[in-house]
Amino acid sequence: MKTVYRRLTSYVLCFVLLATCSVAAFAENKDSMLEIKIVEGSSTISISGEAIPAEKSFKNGNMLFIPLRAVLEAFGAEVSRMDGNKINITYRDVSMDITVGEKQCLVNQAEKELVQAPVFVNGTTMVPLQLVTDFFGARSSYNASTKTTSILLEDDGALNDLSFLTGSISKEKIGNSYFKWSMNVPKGSTINQTSFNSKYVLVENEQRQISLEVSIHVDSGKKIKDYYNELEENPQGMLNAELLDSSLNTEASSSYGEFLYANLYDEAVFHRVYIENGYIYNIILTSYTESNPQKLKGNSYFKSIMDSFKPAYSYAAPDIQDLSKIKFGLAKYENYINSDTGKKYFTWELSVLPEWDVLYTNTENPYYTEIGTSKKEYLSIEILNDKNVQDIESYGNKIADFYKTNFNEKYFEILDRKTVQLAGLKACEFSFRVTVGTNKYRYKEFFILSDSLIYDITLKTPDEKYEEKEVNFNKMLDTFKLYKKDVSNLLSDMEKYAFSLEKTRVGKNDESAVFENKTYGWSLKLPGYWNKSGGQDDSLLSFSNKKVGAAILVEAVENTPQTAKLEDNEKFFYLRSMIDSGAKPVSVETFKFKGFNVKSYVFRLENAEEETFVNITINIIQGKKYSYSYLGAIPDLCTSESNLKEMKSIWESFTVLP
């Protein structure tokens, strides 16, 4: 009796312990994976232990048919009925289109075949079990004794690594597969900036208080030694820094120049320069807390990071995070305009060659962007708003007229004009050749009209290089796309910008208007579209015709006993600047003009680097109360007959007021 009692208690205790353990275990496993249990012929299915009513599963031959929606919505898929008997199932990166009654289906647009066709039963779509296991990452098992099929989804797509959000680098090394470099990076670093072409990367480590920059430029043919000497002589080239130490290391596997300095924030900088693979690599380590760069270099950890840099990228090396943004040999640039109202307009995108950089954007004219290698080779895109434009053909005619009237044939040759497609729109294409000094440049200019805006896309390249680069240029132009959004606000912003330019016009319409400078006693007659700007007072005024780059500057100096003693170049600012810069007048003439004595200096300015080729005429007029310096200049390209006539007539209208 007692023993039976004792045995019973011990059984009860064991049972209780076992029960508690299994209950606890059950509570733990509840959420880790999705398990769906289906018994053939049952009107419920068990989803993670919960019984849900569903259409009865059945066997067709050897294949079990299960209710599509009940099972896949438990996964988290989206099941949508389309037209006819088509159904789309989207789950993570799989988009599947099935048709009830057909074995053929599409999986991410690729044709596949199910073992058996889906069917309708009482309005519910029933699909073969194979659909779930073959295409949606689940596995199944069958328990013969309980006649239960289990569908298990182990990976529900939960993210393990959120570094793509925080920008944190989860790998040991960073590198660039296109620009060929790699280096170790301190743990806990985040990538805070990458230029659109990944030529510049800024990595920061907040907790170690350092930043690491890798900046790449195209090699212009220098040797590391020359570059090093240049920087040594002129350390100002590095952010107004105070160079504390520099050395050239030719022993290392790749030669490098090393510079230690404190930047203008008094932060220690450890900087190395490599030239290899046709690129100049600048690796710059800056410490926010240390101001002595020797200490930075002396820190063996930081030194090892710098030493780990290699101007090479190995795909086989494990654990490198590739920072390259180059796809199919091009880098995508997305253009946006910051408006005064704080809005950002995304206007267009263009993919360019990896070596190309943004040369000009958003500063003076927010609607103009230039991307390329230099002033000699680039692609520029300007957004214009011309209310009178009907269609692109008539706009093209307007442009053709403008070129004919304003450009001198000696320097400007139209090669072709045709209608093409650009960004999916009808485009007017001009091909022309421009001579600047001894250089010839090939231009291709496209105009497209979209949503009341005109886009002017201009490609410029040295003429002799055009043929070989044509394929690449066409490749770039093929990627040009326009964004369509919120154009009405952009249009009103552009109007405000245009209005600000309008304010400086000489005349309301394009007719000639007289401008009088009563204070200094002179007047000029110019077409209304010229713009006027002045300095502190009206003694120095300038007029410009921006479309053709023409400028007229008038200076007035009072005639006093002191100024009478001065030479022309001592009296007048512009004449003085010309002569001080080393320019010598090509000719000096004297003649009478409207009863006044005039001394005329003609200068010829030729600067191949700046691409300036212009004749500058400075006429010094000896008036009664004041003496005047009248400067007129128009670049060679725009010295067309009508422009020269215009310049002449403006000069002839110059009148000294009584």
């Binding site: 988290g76 898929a77 797509g157 993210l159 997305e334």
Partner: protein, 342 residues
Amino acid sequence: MGRKRLYIALSLILVLILCFSVTASAAATATTNTDSIKGTDPSIPDVVGKMSSSVVGIIGKLKQSSPNYSNYGDNLVFGSGVVYKSNGYIITNAHVVGDMETIVVVLSDGKSYIARLKAIDETSDLALIKIDKGRLKPVKFGNMTDVAVGETVVAIGTPLSFSLRNSATKGIVSGINRSVDGEYRFIQSDAAINGGNSGGPLVNLKGEVIGINTVKYVGFGVEGLSFSIPVDTVQYVLGHFEKFGKVRRPYLGAVFMEGVAARYGLPSNEGLTITEIKKDSPAEKAGLLVDDVVLAVNDIKVTTKIDYNEEMKNYLPGSVAELTLERNGNSLKVKVTYEESE
């Protein structure tokens, strides 16, 4: 006889022990801590506990095109959301996800998933996103007619920092049919809502969602004034999202100006004055003129623009309405056929 009774007693104890262990482990997995809240309405922890798994945190990186994108920051923004359907549909504010390049949803159990934007409506500030995760617990919506001023409500969300996910604040409904800066009416409450709570639910003590919290309309330096999008607006927008993928508002093409009293929030009978009629619009086609005063839509009085917008929830592009107008002192009725807005 004694033995039988012993067996029964023992099996009863066994059952009791088993029940106890089950509830003990269930309590261990629950997320509320009933013990520390003293002297409060005991159902609030229940409500929060039940709702918790239906409220999510939403975090993402700003698109480069966003006006708030900075070249120098981490560009991470976050808000809250509410589970709408068990297979992963989540409701949140449009301003939370509208500018996100990648959207990540963090569930109350800490697991995170990538989400897709399914539909967005900036006018109502609502958006629908989807994660590919099933077996989520959707919320139940309450009824606007049951919402009473003074009733206790709880706001759940992720205020100020992502580490404060699933915070709950309590308040009362301070007012309903509030017109603030938006296009529709709001529920006003004093449940503290801070940046990050946007998109989270305002819940009554029955555990029903009566509003979606939106921080956009909270004033700085102002205490205890929080605004939520009422459930009827939420359901109107969701209905359109499901049927059309977006909200199809009826377009009239008339620009309205409110009466001065209405602008001050004073009660008025003034109606809406038309200040502009867009070219080729339904208003033009119906013969409406500038300076006409719209007094009612199908006999429903309108005195503010929000009144009009609220009434427009009952119409779709293509539907016809009879407007009661006042023109030059005379009253007239004009039928308009609404069209599709852009």
